[in-house]
């Protein structure tokens, strides 16, 4: 597999295919319908993503039913999903669970991955900490593991409550980092397992569902090596924050375009508001942020794919996570401002992006975590 061989023309073709799909299947009306639905996303669209475009399989390894591409290609897809604010379990199932399973390896992973690649199984990975954080570093009390596993490798059961599980109520398979005798390990639990309680929670970002998941003597299977979660989680965070960064860039660009269009249309004081320099400079600042975020997200994708001339993956992913989180939040905030009163209405899409921006920024811990992660990755 050499992802360096995908030309920019091929990436452009991929982008336009995905954009056409999103325009047809995930316009604002469709997004709002999905938000109001029981499941939180349109499962027909999810199936078509797999059948027509093969998006779920794109960046998974060929030996597990994937197409063997990398983050460089997936970035294009994620940007378009972010742009549309597509509600779907893609981040939880393909990115979080998919990456964890590939990193863990072994029979159990090989059993689950083909379904994820085909879009017929959805999986998710619960944040390991009691406060919803993702650290095994043990820096604070919040870092305590939310779930513990019983001893042994057969007939393992889980005990505890994972508080903020992405798509936790709907996923077919739940992956959990649980404390075990050999240290934190990765475990898989089926949706119909005994002693499993899943409680959907009210959410800030209406386009992503979150649940609390409680395990009471719930049967689970070890994935990969016993006590092997630390390395898995490190890889998951690099990949997932890079994937999130691509989504953030796509969504931020959508906000910039919405503001630019509105600034050309809206007339006050007999002029287009975009001719007022305060508005113009705001737009230029938004553009600057989007360009820099775009560069950071792309470079992180190249780094995570291990391309020859790319920077160290951990550093580039941490840069992208910080820069893209800050950029998207700033741009989504200014998008409301450029729109004035209409931007503060429920009917306008601006708040959907603002909600996504704030929730995405905090999803893996937020600024206090991502800036320290960058310093740690850079050796400070």
């Amino acid at each position: 597999m050499s992802t360096e061989n995908t030309t920019s023309t091929e990436l452009d073709e991929l982008r336009s295919a995905v954009r056409d799909f999103m325009t047809a299947k995930a316009d604002e009306r469709a997004v709002r319908a999905a938000i109001d639905s029981e499941r939180g996303y349109d499962d027909k669209v999810w199936a078509q993503m797999a059948e027509q475009l093969g998006l779920q399989s794109l960046a998974l390894p060929t030996e597990h039913g994937g197409d063997g591409y990398g983050l460089v290609e997936l970035t294009v897809v994620l940007e378009e999903m972010g742009r549309a604010l597509l509600p779907s379990p893609f981040l939880s199932s393909v990115v979080l669970a998919g990456t964890a399973l590939v990193a863990a390896g072994g029979d159990e992973a090989a059993r689950i991955l083909p379904g994820i690649a085909a879009g017929t199984t959805t999986a998710t990975l619960a944040p390991p900490n009691v406060d919803g954080g993702w650290s095994l570093g043990g820096r604070g009390t919040g870092d305590a593991l939310a779930v513990t596993a019983s001893a042994g490798t057969d007939d393992v059961t889980l005990e505890g409550t994972a508080p903020l599980v992405l798509d936790g109520a709907g996923a077919d398979v739940l992956l959990v980092v649980a404390g075990g005798p050999a240290g934190p390990g990765l475990y898989a639990v089926d949706a119909d397992a005994a002693g499993l309680t899943r409680t959907p929670l009210p959410v800030l970002d209406l386009t992503r569902r979150i649940a609390t998941v409680t395990f009471a003597a719930t049967p689970a299977r070890l994935v990969g090596a016993a006590g092997g979660a630390a390395a898995i989680l490190d890889r998951v965070l690099d990949v997932a924050t890079t994937a999130l960064a691509a989504e953030q860039v796509g969504a931020a660009r959508a906000c910039l375009e919405a503001s630019t269009t509105y600034a050309k249309d809206r007339v006050q004081f007999g002029r287009q508001i975009g001719s007022f320099q305060a508005v113009k400079h705001k737009a230029a600042d938004m553009l600057t942020r989007v360009q820099v975020a775009d560069a950071a997200a792309r470079e992180a994708a190249r780094a995570v794919d291990g391309l020859a001339d790319a920077p160290e993956a951990g550093v580039a992913a941490a840069v992208a996570h910080a820069v893209c989180s800050e950029a998207f939040l700033a741009v989504a905030t200014e998008n409301i401002q450029v729109h004035g009163g209409i931007g503060f209405t429920w009917e306008h899409a601006a708040h959907l992006y603002y909600r996504r921006a704030k929730a995405s920024q905090l999803l893996f811990g937020g600024p206090a975590v991502y800036y320290e992660r960058l310093l740690a990755k850079a050796g400070v």
């Binding site: 975009g274 470079e299 840069v319 992208a320």
Partner: protein, 428 residues
């Protein structure tokens, strides 16, 4: 079989090994407490030191040129090597690993902006006359654009060019002219037709800086040194063969220069100045001041580092676009804005950590030395198009937002209000 680029790399490496010494460590990577602690952007050197540095810069450029690296992208008939921008970037990357004289005095304006403008708009004779001399380091060129009443609004410049037989007579004043005191030629924009609208009555000339009537007076910068000047032009005669571009068509010439200016101001950042945003150096700064566990300081450092690396990634992307034969988009302007911001933040971050020891020279290593950068960074938001003008350009040209409503692009230049004072005196 080695690729063409591999051969180029081997050739450059052989040249550099023969003529320069490899650096023991990256330029921005100094051992804490040892060696040079100055972080200079604008020079504060006394004239003899400055002149010696200019001579060394010219000599090194000559060596580059004699070995085929003086003008890598230039056409061969004018002394260039005929290679691509990518070759140029590869050369820069390799040279950064060696200790060589700093050549900014030649490259930033002369080679980076004036050379490309002469190449794009000059007659073959003019190109033959000046380009080899410029790129071999024999002469330095300056940019005679800004005037006291024409800065951001460059097209309102007033220096007059009047026909005189088969030549022209120039009269007027230029200002903020960097390196004019070392320059043999200058690219001057002049008002040739005040009856046309302001953009349509300008003509560009290559001016001999040693000609009678050219008076260069140094101006002292807030940073203490004198690298820019005011230049008075009094009845300066210029032959019509030194005109660049059509009569009254000088604005197109100016745009070529300005485009190259934006491209050249962004990408720098290596060298000693790079230390101001280099994580290892700033980490040592924290350690030396016992602040490595200070959460607020760590947060500011991390924020700066994230933006610095993201800007670096943006520059990498520009390089990759060149490599793929694509034209970069707004990256150059964005990079310029970010560069100024990052360097400014680096300087103020260091100042916060150093505290009062920065405000007077106690002789302690790496403390008062930061004042040079602190006194230089304000210029980065002004030169080469102010921050505000860059934002106008991004918003109008990239995003397509409407221009400011204005009448001054249509009316004849002589009818425009050019300063508040002028209007008052007219109404008095």
């Amino acid at each position: 079989m080695p690729s063409e680029m591999d051969q180029f790399v081997a050739e450059v490496t052989a040249f550099l090994d023969a003529h320069a010494t490899r650096r023991a460590r990256a330029a921005e990577d100094v051992a804490w407490g040892e060696g040079e602690d100055r972080i200079t952007y604008f020079s504060t050197d006394p004239p003899d030191v400055e002149n010696a540095k200019v001579a060394a810069a010219k000599a090194w450029q000559r060596t580059r040129y004699d070995n085929g690296f003086g003008w890598i992208t230039g056409p061969t008939e004018f002394g260039g090597r005929g290679l691509t921008t990518l070759h140029d970037l590869v050369y820069d990357g390799l040279e950064a690993g060696y200790d060589v004289p700093e050549t900014g005095v030649l490259s930033l304006i002369g080679l980076g902006m004036i050379g490309p403008t002469i190449l794009a708009h000059g007659t073959d004779e003019l190109k033959q006359r000046y380009l080899p001399r410029l790129y071999s380091g024999e002469i330095i060129a300056c940019q005679l654009f800004s005037e006291p009443a024409a800065g951001s609004d460059l097209a309102s410049l007033e220096t007059k060019a009047v026909r005189d037989g088969d030549g022209w007579i120039l009269n007027g004043q230029k200002v903020w002219t960097s390196v004019a005191h070392h320059a043999a030629i200058g690219l001057a924009l002049c008002r040739s037709n005040p009856d046309n609208p302001k953009h349509k009555g300008i003509t560009a000339f290559v001016v001999d800086m040693t000609a009678p009537g050219v008076d260069v007076r140094p101006l002292r910068q807030m940073s203490g040194g004198s690298e820019f000047n005011e230049v008075f032009l009094t009845d300066v005669h210029v032959g019509d063969d030194h005109r660049l571009g059509p009569v009254d068509g000088g604005w197109g010439v100016a745009l070529t220069t300005l485009m190259n200016e934006r491209a050249s101001v962004g990408g720098e950042g290596a060298g000693p100045v790079g230390r101001a945003v280099a994580l290892p150096f700033l980490t040592e700064l924290l350690r030396a001041n016992g602040r490595l566990d200070d959460g607020a300081a760590r947060r500011r450092l991390a924020e700066l580092h994230a933006d610095t690396l993201a800007t670096e990634y943006l520059n990498h992307q520009m390089v990759r676009k060149f490599r793929a034969g694509e034209q970069p988009g707004p990256e150059a302007s964005v990079s310029k804005l970010m560069y100024a911001q990052n360097l400014t933040r680096g300087a103020h971050f260091a100042a916060e950590i150093i505290g009062p020891r920065l405000i007077a020279d106690t002789g302690a290593w790496g403390t008062y030395s930061w004042t040079e950068l602190l006194l230089s960074t304000p210029a980065l938001r002004i030169l080469g198009g102010t921050e505000e003008i860059m934002k106008n350009i991004l918003a109008e040209r990239v995003l397509g937002l409407p221009k400011e409503p204005g009448i001054d692009t249509r009316s004849p230049f002589r009818e425009l209000r050019r300063s508040a004072g002028a209007t008052e005196s007219r109404s008095a």
